[in-house]
């Protein structure tokens, strides 16, 4: 390890090296990176690891070295030879880490800003899959600001790295992780996994044959610049209401949010069916639960609201969404390259591939804290007065039509909607977020028929930009 006034070099040496085909999770991201093109930095993962106690720079860099040595994913590069892309695990190497002085700014805020900025640059396949800066204040290291390639980590892996980081700072020695992406590649080549892949593809095929070819039926209009925007909503009422409805109806909180998003999307797109991809953590095999890597894949979800329009209500839609999501999640273990071949073949048969770029991304899934417990007697409708919406991000080019994301802040729910403004303008996106809150909060006190969803949500079918 060498250290200067402005940078340090972390030399690492892990237990093994090797080369293998990509895991299914890596294949999923590999393909997504290509689809996003110049906007692929959208998939990068910013992260901050705080330094919890007074540690000197040497101790912090030693812990970083231990993290890289423990997880092969953090010392893996990629290549694309003629017979298909491969992961290459290096046993040893060096990572250069810049030191950033926090002057007036709070160290963690600076670290978050640096992590976000580092994430705006594309990772080349041959790059180390992480970038790191150490934030220093008054001579003391306070945090690591990191940006990871999505080929190296997913949301769950970031949580695992934080847990390891806490243990390393307590002085624990951590052995090499017992299950690494190269082990996963080997497992996925076995017969049971190939059979699961075939079964998932059998589930997808008839859905692909049946779904609308476009997310929205209208042609694109003049977009904003940048074209892709994200609007967000922070709502204390929503978190409480979702928890109460989930308990009342015997479904998960994720299902309530999924059904609300699906019915709202169906209303705006004037369809009787909501079709989307669910971003799924996919850590269902016990061996992947502690693996730092990228495991997530997309689940194909279709909810038919046609037969609910006559008489059933939002509660029925939540139960139907739960059943459909379980089926979709179950069929999310597949070789993405084989699945893309099927999608392309479907495209040849139908004239073009169905556009499946509507997404539901529940970052917390079943791990969501139940906010209804913290405020059992809250006046939930009254809390909606505190709800706020705001613009949160924009990108010139990403491969998304619409993506609904659920997170949780301290004491509140945060929803966000990324839209392609060529298809959906900003004001409609904001109305959809507020409409989801209205639908869920109103459902606490009355049954909402599916036919009444547009009126309750304050939205209407959108058929393109007005001329």
């Amino acid at each position: 390890m060498t250290v200067s006034a402005t940078s340090a070099t972390v030399a690492f040496c892990g237990a093994r090296d090797g080369e293998a085909a990509l895991t299914w999770g890596q294949r999923h991201v590999w393909r997504a990176l290509r689809l996003h093109g110049p906007g692929q930095y959208f998939l990068n993962c910013p992260w901050v690891l705080p330094v919890y106690a007074r540690r000197d720079l040497g101790a912090v860099l030693t812990a970083l070295r231990a993290l890289i040595e423990r997880h092969e994913s953090l010392r893996t590069t990629f290549a694309d030879p003629a017979d298909g892309p491969v992961q290459r695990v290096a046993r040893s190497g060096e990572l250069t880490v810049l030191l950033e002085q926090a002057k007036q700014e709070r160290p963690l805020e600076l670290a978050e800003r640096l992590a976000a900025r580092m994430s705006e640059e594309i990772f080349a396949p041959e790059d180390w899959p992480l970038r790191c800066r150490v934030v220093v204040k008054d001579g003391r290291p306070c945090a690591l600001a990191l940006a990871f390639s999505h080929l190296a980590v997913d949301h769950e892996a970031l949580g695992l790295l934080s847990a390891d980081w806490r243990r390393l700072q307590r002085g624990e020695d951590l052995p090499p992780a017992s299950w690494q992406p190269m082990d996963q590649t080997e497992l996925e080549a076995t017969e049971p996994f190939q059979a699961r892949s075939a079964r998932s593809i059998r589930y997808w095929q008839p859905v692909l044959d049946d779904v609308p070819l476009d997310v929205f039926g209208h042609p694109p209009g003049r977009p904003e610049d940048p074209r892709f925007i994200e609007v967000a909503m922070e709502s204390a009422a929503l978190g409480i209401a979702v928890g109460q409805l989930a308990k009342r109806w015997g479904v998960s909180t994720s299902s309530v949010l999924l059904a609300a998003w699906a019915t709202t999307l169906a209303a705006v797109s004037d369809r009787q069916q909501a079709v989307m991809l669910l971003v799924h953590s996919n850590r269902r095999d016990p061996r992947t639960r502690a693996m730092v890597g990228t495991v997530g894949q997309d689940s194909l979800f279709a909810l038919d609201l046609g037969d609910t329009r006559g008489g059933t209500d939002f509660a029925a839609a939540c139960r139907a969404a739960e059943r459909a999501a379980l089926l979709a999640y179950r069929n999310t273990q597949y070789d993405p390259f084989a699945m893309w071949a099927v999608r392309e073949e479907t495209g040849r048969r139908r004239g073009r591939e169905p556009d499946l770029n509507a997404f539901f991304n529940d970052r917390l899934g079943s791990g969501r804290p139940d906010l209804s417990r913290s405020a059992p007697d809250a006046n939930v409708p009254g809390l909606t007065g505190k709800t706020r919406t705001y613009a949160s991000n924009s990108w010139p080019s990403i491969h998304i039509r619409v993506m609904f994301t659920v997170g949780t802040m301290a004491g509140a729910s945060e929803l966000s909607l990324i839209v392609d403004t060529a298809y959906l303008p900003r004001d409609i996106a904001t109305s959809m977020l507020l409409g989801i809150e209205a639908l869920i909060v109103r459902s606490l006190t009355e049954d909402i028929p599916i036919a009444a969803v547009p009126q309750v949500c304050g939205i209407a079918a959108y058929r393109g930009h007005r001329l």
């Binding site: 049971p192 998960s252 953590s281 269902r284 016990p286 999501a325 379980l326 899934g365 079943s366």
Partner: protein, 84 residues
């Protein structure tokens, strides 16, 4: 694979405890007083459970996963598949 019915129920209960990371104990599952969801089995844990059952017993449980939400129904369904 064949196993006595009592062994299958016991193995199944252990699998539920594993799939739920201990959120649902084997004893709670075996008691069968509540649905597995009511006991705290999440959707991800249910899918883990189905994978484990299919890998261990070499069966295909079929698509109707919500019908497995009661321990007795799941154990009966599995017993039928194993005896077929």
């Amino acid at each position: 694979m064949t196993a006595p019915a009592g062994d299958v129920r016991s193995m199944l209960a252990d699998m539920i405890a594993d799939a739920s990371d201990g959120e649902v104990s084997a004893a709670q599952a075996l008691a069968g007083d509540h649905s597995l969801t009511a006991l705290g089995l999440t959707s991800l844990a249910l899918i883990r459970l189905i994978d484990a059952i299919e890998d261990t017993f070499g069966v295909d449980l079929g698509p109707d996963m919500l019908s497995y939400d009661r321990f007795d129904a799941l154990a009966s369904h599995l017993a039928e598949l194993l005896s077929a």
